[in-house]
């Protein structure tokens, strides 16, 4: 298939977070994305489903030692095709000022758990 079938505002939010993470050279898990976008859990994982199906992102499980207990985290990163498509979509659909502001705001949210 070519791309994702519909690009919602939530999809754009998630793509922005993923692009920012890619620039920071780190991977993010679902809960981080959820917090950064301030979207609901089902919405965020719905977007992750679609992006995964489209081959825009790939996920990998965190490594757990034998002493670690509990559920593993699954980290996501944009694929090569994903970076290209996400950059294009953000450029088309988000005004630069808006993107920058939101990135700034999200940066704070992600790093310090700060919210308005």
């Amino acid at each position: 298939m070519a791309g994702i079938e519909r690009v919602t505002e939530a999809s754009l939010d998630v793509l922005e977070v993923l692009l920012q993470a890619q620039r920071d050279r780190r991977d993010v898990h679902g809960w981080e994305i959820k917090k950064a976008t301030r979207r609901s859990g089902p919405t965020v994982y719905g977007v992750i489903d679609r992006l995964e199906d489209a081959g825009f992102i790939e996920g990998h499980w965190e490594h757990q030692g034998p002493s670690d207990k509990g559920p593993r985290r699954r980290y996501y990163r944009l694929t090569g095709a994903g970076v290209v498509a996400a950059s294009k979509l953000i450029a088309e659909r988000r005004r630069p000022s808006q993107t920058k502001l939101q990135a700034l705001e999200r940066g704070l949210v992600v790093e310090y758990g700060w919210s308005r």
Binding site: M1, A2, I4, E5, R6, H29, G30, W31, K34, S40, G41, P42, Y45, G46, D49, D53, G59, G70, P71, R72, R73, R74
Partner: protein, 197 residues
């Protein structure tokens, strides 16, 4: 103090203290059901379940845990209902929008002059093409390649092993991959229906 005040000041905190921890427990019990309902694909359901359980351990509040799990459960229920409704419509041989004239269970053209479009349920380009073709008054046969494995093999055989949708098989035997409605119409006009080459 009225009875309402007593309720607010005493009973509710008591209930929360009593059942708060239970909410967290219940939240963890809801997630497997939520994942199973949401995803027909059991592998993906397992992946998401572990992710969601991880999310739950990041939420400090017991009631917030329950809210999160309820949200997932609600979305799961909605997804399951949607899948069920879609399957029911498929059985009746009608597409979501009533655009499809027939449903094929095998590869090939049902009748001379009819074109076959290979799709998946989630493919937006397929949906768009179906709507556009319907507007042009072109009758189509739809085959869901995720339900019809023979059809999936057929699509892979003409797309270098990829399950590319929409793939259109025209009455004259030519195939078009992700064409516009105009392209389909042009191809139909080049080889009129009923005169297979």
């Amino acid at each position: 103090m009225t009875a309402k005040d007593i309720l607010l000041a005493v009973i509710i905190p008591l209930i929360l203290a009593e059942f708060g921890p239970w909410c967290g427990w219940l939240a963890a019990r809801l997630l497997p059901t939520a994942a199973k309902l949401r995803y027909a694909d059991s592998q993906r359901a397992a992946v998401r379940l572990e992710e969601w359980s991880g999310d739950l351990s990041d939420i400090p509040g017991q009631l917030t845990k329950l809210t999160y799990a309820s949200g997932q459960l609600l979305a799961g229920t909605a997804a399951a209902a949607q899948r069920k409704a879609k399957a029911r419509r498929k059985v009746r041989g009608r597409d979501v929008d009533g655009l499809v004239t027939a449903q094929l269970s095998s590869t090939g053209v049902s009748s001379p002059g009819q074109l076959t479009i290979y799709t998946t349920q989630w493919c937006g380009f397929c949906q768009r093409l179906k709507i556009q073709l319907a507007r042009l008054g072109i009758e189509i046969c739809e085959v869901d390649i995720e339900r019809d494995l023979a059809a999936a093999d057929y699509v892979m055989s003409i797309n270098d092993g990829k399950q590319t949708v929409p793939t259109v098989l025209l009455p004259d035997g030519t195939t078009l991959v992700n064409p516009s409605a105009a392209q389909v119409r042009a191809q139909l006009a080049a080889v009129p229906p009923g005169s297979p080459s």
